[in-house]
Structure formats: C-alpha cells, structure tokens
C-alpha cells in the first residue's frame, strides 16, 4: 500500500508493522468485520419478522396454524443451537437443489440418494458450477443468513409471544368497546404496546446474536475467525512477512471487538428502554413520571 513497502525484508520496527497490517490479506480480514456486521444487520430484522409471524401463528384461533407456530417456538428448546446450524445449512442446500432438480430435469431416472451420494442433474446445481467464485460465496452467506434467521426467529417468537400476553387485557377490551374488529385491536392496540414488554427479551436476544456470529466460521463463510486463523498462523521465510505463531494476538483482537460490541449494545439498549418506558404504565414509566421527566 505504501511506497516504502516495496521490499519488506529491508524494513523493521513500526514501519514493518505498518506495511504488514496493510497487506491485501489484511484488507480481506478487515472486510470480514463488515461481513459480520452485515450479517447482524440483515439477520436481526429477518429474525424479528420470523418471530413475529411465529408468535402470531402461535396465538391463532385456527388449530393447525397454532400447532405450527407453537411447534416452531418449541423446536429450538432442548437442542443445542449448533446442531441446527450444522443441520440447516446442508438440509437447505439439498432441499433447494432437489426442488430445482424436480423443475429442470423431469426425466432424470437415476436415484438422487444413491448410497452415500446426493446426486442431482448438472443443471440443478445451485449455484451452477460455471458461476463465478463471488456468487458461490454470496450463496453460502445467504444460506447462513437464512439459518440464523430461522433459529433466532424461534427465540424472537418466544419473546414476542410472551410480550403479546403481557399487554393488559383491559386495553384490548377498551378497543373492543369502541367497536374495533379483532384485526384493528391487534394493529392499533396490541402491537404498539407490546414492544416495551418485549424489549428486555429482545435486547438479550441481540446480545446472544452478536455472540453467535463466530459460528459463521462453522458454516464455511470466510469470516473474522477464518481470517484470524489464516493470518495468525506461522509464516515461514517463504512469505513476504515471516512471523511466528501470532494467532493468540489475532484472537485477542477479536475478543476486544466482541467486548466493545457488547458494551456499546448495552448502552444503546439502556437508552432505548428509557425511551420506550416513557408514559407507560410500568414501574420504569412510573419512576420517570415521579422524577419529573
């Protein structure tokens, strides 16, 4: 990057470090932080949407829908999440390929599950084998996002289901007394009021989501853990910047990154909680009213 980095073997000290930290691979490493933040930014709303749908389904009057919603919420209980992460990535991948296979190769006669192999016709490969490398990476990232959304959606559904039940019954009854339909009370009364009850659970979930992002590594995405291992490993003199095993330092960096993320989130959540409690008939809202804010 810098002009004086032309010949790494001739420099030392801080100059060497400046050159070392600005190599192309290190920029890949810095980009992978963006990958993690992108994952968080996409997954959080999608998981919330999944959770909302799950909670609404679990409250439904219609029995099959209610069972579906409650089954979804109960799905994640009692089973380590990492099992879901490992399971869904393969299951989704094979499921998509199977569907494409059914659509594109209707006259394929060979069995798809042949002994130890899962074989679909070449046209059904997703993404196709001729696709550029970036598309494959994007597809892997997309699968990871969907997996995170499904697993965390179940947690969010659990939280939102509880929050919907926590809204005082009298509020709903008032809505009914005004002649609102059940859909109207849901939209105008229940949903606006439930967030203050949902916030503690959701902020806890956000913390858990942050701390789950290193699992991206297990899903085969080139994330910060991948690059920390790659860059930190011993580099012999065959490399431009030889160094001993520095993985400890890279992982310390990641640790600091996560601690910072947690600390910042805690601050933001505390602010948000104070904001949402404003004017609410809860203990926190009452305390604010008495303090004259």
């Amino acid at each position: 990057m810098f002009a004086f980095c032309e010949d790494p073997s001739s420099i030392d000290g801080l100059t060497w470090l400046a050159c070392y930290l600005t190599t192309g691979k290190h920029f890949d490493f810095y980009w992978s932080f963006i990958t993690v933040l992108t994952l968080l930014a996409i997954t959080a709303p999608v998981a919330l949407a999944f959770g909302f749908a799950g909670a609404v389904a679990a409250r439904s009057q219609f029995l099959p829908l209610r069972l579906l919603g409650q089954g979804y919420v109960a799905m994640v209980r009692g089973v380590p999440d990492i099992v879901f992460f490992l399971f869904f990535v393969i299951a989704l991948d094979q499921g998509i390929e199977w569907l494409v296979h059914q659509a594109r190769c209707p006259d394929w006669t060979e069995p798809i599950r042949n002994g130890l192999e899962f074989r679909v016709c070449p046209e059904a490969k997703v993404p196709s084998s001729r696709a550029p490398q970036t598309l494959h990476q994007l597809y892997g990232f997309g699968l990871a996002v969907v997996t995170f959304a499904i697993v965390f959606g179940a947690f969010a559904a659990n939280v939102l289901y509880g929050a919907m039940r926590a809204v005082p019954r009298a509020q709903i009854e008032t809505g009914e007394a005004y002649g609102m339909t059940s859909g109207q009370t849901f939209r105008r009364i229940l949903v606006p009021q439930m967030w203050v009850y949902a916030l503690p659970g959701l902020s806890n979930l956000w913390m858990i989501l942050i701390k789950a992002t290193p699992l991206l590594f297990l899903l085969g995405v080139q994330d910060i853990v991948y690059w920390a291992r790659e860059l930190g490993g011993t580099k012999t003199s065959a490399y431009a910047y030889p160094h001993p095993d520095w993985r400890v330092w890279y992982f310390l960096g990641l640790l600091v990154f996560y601690l910072l993320m947690t600390a910042v989130s805690e601050r933001v959540m505390a602010r948000l909680s104070a904001r949402l409690s404003h004017g609410q008939a809860t203990l926190a809202g009452e305390t604010q009213r008495k303090a004259g804010r």
Partner: protein, 279 residues
C-alpha cells in the same frame, strides 16, 4: 455385524476402548445411535465437572461483586464482563492458542532452594483445557445470576437475622445464602441446560479431537460428512440432548423442591425453562 456387536465395539469408543477404526461404509442406524451416544459421555463429563466447580467459583464471585470493597468488587465485575461479553467460541480459540504457546517442556518456577517444573502439555488436551474455559465461563454467568438473587434477598430476612444477633459468616450461611440459592435456582437451572448445550462447541473450536475421541456432535458431524445425509445424524443428537435436558430439569427440580420446602405451597417458585442458547 449385528447391532449388539456394534454396541460392544463402539459404546466406549469416545474414551478409547473397543474398535479402533470408526465405521467407514454401510453406515447403519445402530452405528449412528451407538457412536453418538458414546460421544455424549464427553458432553456429560464437561457439563457435570464445569457445573460442579463453577458453582463454587460463582458463589465467591457473586459475593465479591456485591461487596462494598472496591478491591474485591472491581476484579469480579471485570471477570464477569469479560466472560459474559465475549463469545464462548472465541474463548475456546484463545485459550487453546495460549496453551499451545506455553513451552512444551514445562515452566520452571524457581523457589530459591529448589525449582519446580510445572508440566503444561496436558492443558492442550480438550478434557483439561476446554474444561477450564467452561468452568470460568459458567462461573461468570452463574455469578451474575447469584448476584441478582443476592440483591433481591428480602430486607425483612436480614432484619430478622439482626434481631437474632446473627452477623457475618453465620448470617450469610444460615440466612442469606439459602435465600440466594432459592431465588436464583430457576435461572440457574436454565444456565445448567445452557452449559450442557455449550459443551457441543468444544471440538468445533480450537481443541482437536485426539484419536477421533470426540463428543456427540463430533460423531454426528463425522457421519453427516461421510453420508451427505443430515437427516439422520443430527436428529439423533437432538433426541439425546432433549433427554439430557429433561434429566437436568428433573434433577434441578428436586433440588428446587428442597430449597422451597419451608414455604407455603402457593408462594413457591415453579421452575420455568426459558431457553437462551449460544453464548
């Protein structure tokens, strides 16, 4: 091979007994169930040991965090923030890389008259190194639970203790600690379940499985990689863990009953399992 022979060959494979080679072809359901169940021994080992030692540590940390003395409070606060604020996955990696960096021959500690050599190589093995991380991690999470419980010990209980002339250690042992346990127990049950689930991370982070002796998820992953069929191995792990979770809930429910036995039946706390996975 009949199913019974498979059980004989692989039931203790994760501990290094029985057949040396893992099954390579013609994977049967029986092999799946036996080998994954064999791996579960490690999950139980990690979970039970970490819980037992972490419990003692957590009590000390909770009391330290509630202490008015800054010298005790600050380190406890930082310890809890460090282990609760970062992913367990990263903690495993960091611990493993640190243990690997320790000199293989051991560390010499000069004591003036003699020198002690502390062996360090055992730390890089999962059964010791990962266990240490799990102990510290669960200690931090449990300490936060117990700290919350300690702060909500009713005032009246403390005043009654004062009225009886109790103070210091005897007040803590007879009044504060039992109430703290009683109030914190439902949340602690969740933490225990959570910890058993977290043990599946051990062989997926820094710690390598030695001679293919891994935990339940390690073998499930082995099968899924070999057969390209996730629909058999992972549901088996899931089923094992549901049974394990139910066993923990049962055991902790018994302790909860004992902790609450002096209360009238309608004010007792029921155990509720609120899942929160992934640290």
């Amino acid at each position: 091979m009949t199913c019974w022979e498979t059980v004989q060959a692989y039931a203790f494979r994760s501990l290094g007994y029985g057949e040396r080679l893992l099954p390579r072809e013609g994977f049967t359901i029986c092999e799946h169930v036996t080998l994954i169940g064999s791996g579960l021994i490690w999950n139980v080992y990690f979970g039970a040991c970490a819980l037992a030692i972490g419990f003692i540590l957590a009590n000390g940390l909770a009391v330290a965090k509630a202490s008015p003395v800054a010298v005790l409070r600050k380190p406890a606060e930082w310890f809890i923030f460090l282990f609760r604020g970062s992913p367990l996955f990263i903690q495993f990696f960091l611990a493993y890389e640190t243990f690997v960096l320790l000199p293989k021959a051991g560390i010499d500690i000069p004591l003036g008259f003699t020198t002690i050599t502390v062996a360090t190589s055992w730390l890089t093995k999962a059964q010791a190194g990962a266990l240490i991380v799990l102990i510290l991690n669960t200690a931090a999470y449990s300490a936060e639970i117990f700290y919350g419980a300690l702060r909500s010990v009713p005032r009246g209980d403390l005043e009654a203790a004062d009225a009886y002339g109790m103070s210091g250690w005897s007040r803590f042992r007879r009044i504060v600690w039992p109430t703290m346990m009683r109030l914190g127990w439902p949340a602690y049950t969740n933490e225990a379940i959570f910890l058993f689930h977290a043990t599946t991370l051990v062989f997926f982070s820094g710690f390598p499985a030695w001679r293919q002796q891994g935990d339940a998820l390690y073998y499930a992953n082995y099968f899924a990689d070999k057969t390209f069929n996730p629909f058999l191995a992972y549901p088996i792990v899931a089923a094992y863990f549901i049974v394990l979770t139910l066993a923990i809930i049962g055991l902790f429910g018994l302790i909860n009953r004992r902790l609450n036995r002096h209360l009238p039946a309608n004010t007792r706390q029921r155990l509720r399992y609120r899942p929160q996975l992934v640290r």
